[in-house]
Symmetry: C2
Subunit: 503 residues, 2 copies
Amino acid sequence: MGGDLPPRGSFATLTDADVARFRSILESTPGDVARAVLTDEKSLADANEDWTRAYRGRSRVLLLPRTTSQVAAIVRHCNDRNLAVVPQGGNTGLVGGGVPVHDEVVLGMKRMRSVVSIDPSAGVVVAEAGVVLDDLETALNREGMTVPLDLGAKGKCQIGGNVSTNAGGLRLLRHGSLHGSVLGVEVVLASGEVLNLLKTLRKDNTGYDLKQLFIGAEGTLGVVTKVALLAPRKPRRVDVTFAAAPSFSAAVETLVAAKTELSESLQAFEFLDRASLELVCAQMKGARDPLPGSEAPFYVVMETSGSAERAAEERARLDRFLADAKTRGRVVDGVVGADAKHAAALWNLRERISLALKHAGAVYKYDLSLPTARMYELVEVMRERVASAAAAAAAGAAGAFDFSRVSVLGYGHLGDGNLHLNISSPDGYDARLERIIEPHVYEWTASVDGSVSAEHGVGAMKPNEVSRSKPAAAIELMRAIKDVFDPKGILNPYKVLPPRARL
Amino acid sequence: MGGDLPPRGSFATLTDADVARFRSILESTPGDVARAVLTDEKSLADANEDWTRAYRGRSRVLLLPRTTSQVAAIVRHCNDRNLAVVPQGGNTGLVGGGVPVHDEVVLGMKRMRSVVSIDPSAGVVVAEAGVVLDDLETALNREGMTVPLDLGAKGKCQIGGNVSTNAGGLRLLRHGSLHGSVLGVEVVLASGEVLNLLKTLRKDNTGYDLKQLFIGAEGTLGVVTKVALLAPRKPRRVDVTFAAAPSFSAAVETLVAAKTELSESLQAFEFLDRASLELVCAQMKGARDPLPGSEAPFYVVMETSGSAERAAEERARLDRFLADAKTRGRVVDGVVGADAKHAAALWNLRERISLALKHAGAVYKYDLSLPTARMYELVEVMRERVASAAAAAAAGAAGAFDFSRVSVLGYGHLGDGNLHLNISSPDGYDARLERIIEPHVYEWTASVDGSVSAEHGVGAMKPNEVSRSKPAAAIELMRAIKDVFDPKGILNPYKVLPPRARL
């Protein structure tokens, strides 16, 4: 995926002396060093390979620091020695951004997992980068608060990685992007210097907002070690509504109606197509179509928040919303979760699509921002391309790739204009299939002024595609900023920025 | 204010040939040039002086372009000639950021006032930089939408200036900061190149989020010419609640209760002290204490949104909230606006403080982010300092400054931890008074890890104070970024960054 491997940069190669130096940096606790400097095959195999199994590096060392000063000492040594480094969070990324391309030192954050402070009256949490999103949610729930983002990967992804990839997720519609929610960061720069921008203030207009550059930089400008985040009050009650739409435009009309009529309580507005629903029901235990008989082409899933004491009233409001949508032909059927368990089951139909796809075989994943009204056209275009290839292959020689077994699925964050286009191949990754998909998927996206990466980032997958969404002047400025922050280019090389020769 | 004038940089001085060149750039419409290149005394007097009358430059030319390409040609000429430029929006800033310090060319944006597009289903508006905030609100209201920020200066301030100063305002609590709401910008760089980052997508993770740097850069990195902004649905109904609190901590407790109990509908949570209320009632026609008899030391003003069809129900909910707050001793009295007119009158008590202060004489304005619980301590500290000075002066020689006529007021965005500290001097600005205030106000703020500029920015007032809120490493990086974007330093010099010698 994403073309050939870029050539290795002129970085130094890891030596025994480097490993010894890392041991001395990380041996602050007796016996700790054995768990902090890992060179065994199993640990390296896990650290080298990404979640999708499409990207695999060959690093020879995984470092697991516990403190910011250890991170600083490691990065300083790497910079002095010209060793390349890849910071790694929960390794749940989908674009190969958190694993080595060649033999980069892997800097894993998972032992930096303290929640530093929670301030309920200000609504702010400070956490180390390696705190797992679900653990952060649990800690905040105890204070009646919640994390302003929610992802399918929450059981494994880390808040530092979320910030570094500018993760979007399921609550962006309500709480906005991390560019608004992150109040401060602590970052280790390429020089090994610690840049303390860890303010917990909601407002701070004293000069350029440097922290914004690290949000979504995927570790190429610095290693995020701590994060200060706005944490809203946890809604006392959440309802999930699942509805079947007769067409994509009807689904979009339902979104507009929900934003108008339920605006102050609307937390998330998702969609999935019939193929996605069928896949989840086939692959995931306990999943079943909640609206059997409707067999609609599209489904929407809506999360609304409310107050505990008005539960009946709020259910009645959602029932009225559904009834009105039916009358107007926007939906053909719908259901409001009867209780927390039912609500979770409905929500899981959307949330578990990604996992179901992983179970089903190889998958080409695209994460695109598109004009909302035209989001689904691309799914149809790709289906036609695969069907044409299947027809051509059927007419051709034996031994051709069996395109008829490929399925094209569309789902995503309708409220954010964010399509997850997934092309599932039970027979594995194949160059013949890839040629049907790329670069067409990117060309089509650019033709409607979309973005080739809505929320997954660029990573190792899309550096050559960034210019489809950004003008040359912007890429030149990005490069200049990279040079300011990381003159030797040791931080997460081969990622984000297109190789110079390609411009 | 803010110390001595910084020395003029080694920029070129405006010549007749420059003015002729500007005329040729701006004469695209016959007869237009007379209104586009202004050198008359009256126009220059207005352009040279800021709203607070504390800052005054001596520019010899005001340029009013109509198009981005005209802005680009002007800036390119200034860069080639090494002429300094100050971009100017509605000139409502409070820190001298939008007026010349010396003889900079003033680039006024007020003729770039088209709303380019409104997309109700995506919830996005694109506007030229010079659109007045109130006009943008009116245009969006017609589509059932609203601007995600609201300022006292909305009748004059411009959206480009709002973005360039990262304006906060009254709805930040609900809609978050402009770092989350701005989807794209078009910017003219110092070279004259147009950087088109005018995406209207909610999500775009393709490389570093460069647009963030222009949000709050006060025109020092480029001239913002267009803005794409998220525009939420306009609430169908807004309620205003005004309540008297027996202490500052009781006001903070009321905020926490409101965030918990009214969370999904809370739009703004403001506070003012008794001195602020009395000033507004004294200075502004029609203003009166809505809770006579309570004579409380603090007041909170809360805006909540809701649905039109449930008006009675929502009023009842707010009445219950007030009754509960009274029972718990958080408030001593309160009132919910009975209708739109009453609500506006209550809201104006908070919104018109700034104007009332202007009527009352000279005013030293400080805009600080502080830990919410300790926000008001600084007002008390400053009152004590002024009282001590008054006592000392009374004991001293005749002709001393009359400190007894000075009043210290505190109000602001309680929900955002943002204090507006205002020191009103009916006898004008005076160095003796200033010495009582500065640098103590900044030192105190730094000592509690606050920010010396919450939302007003740095401008010409606070470049020397930035280091109180930002580490030296951050200031070095800001400088390096400035050098990347504006190598000659022609864009809004003397602003934002501390002079090199001061580091």
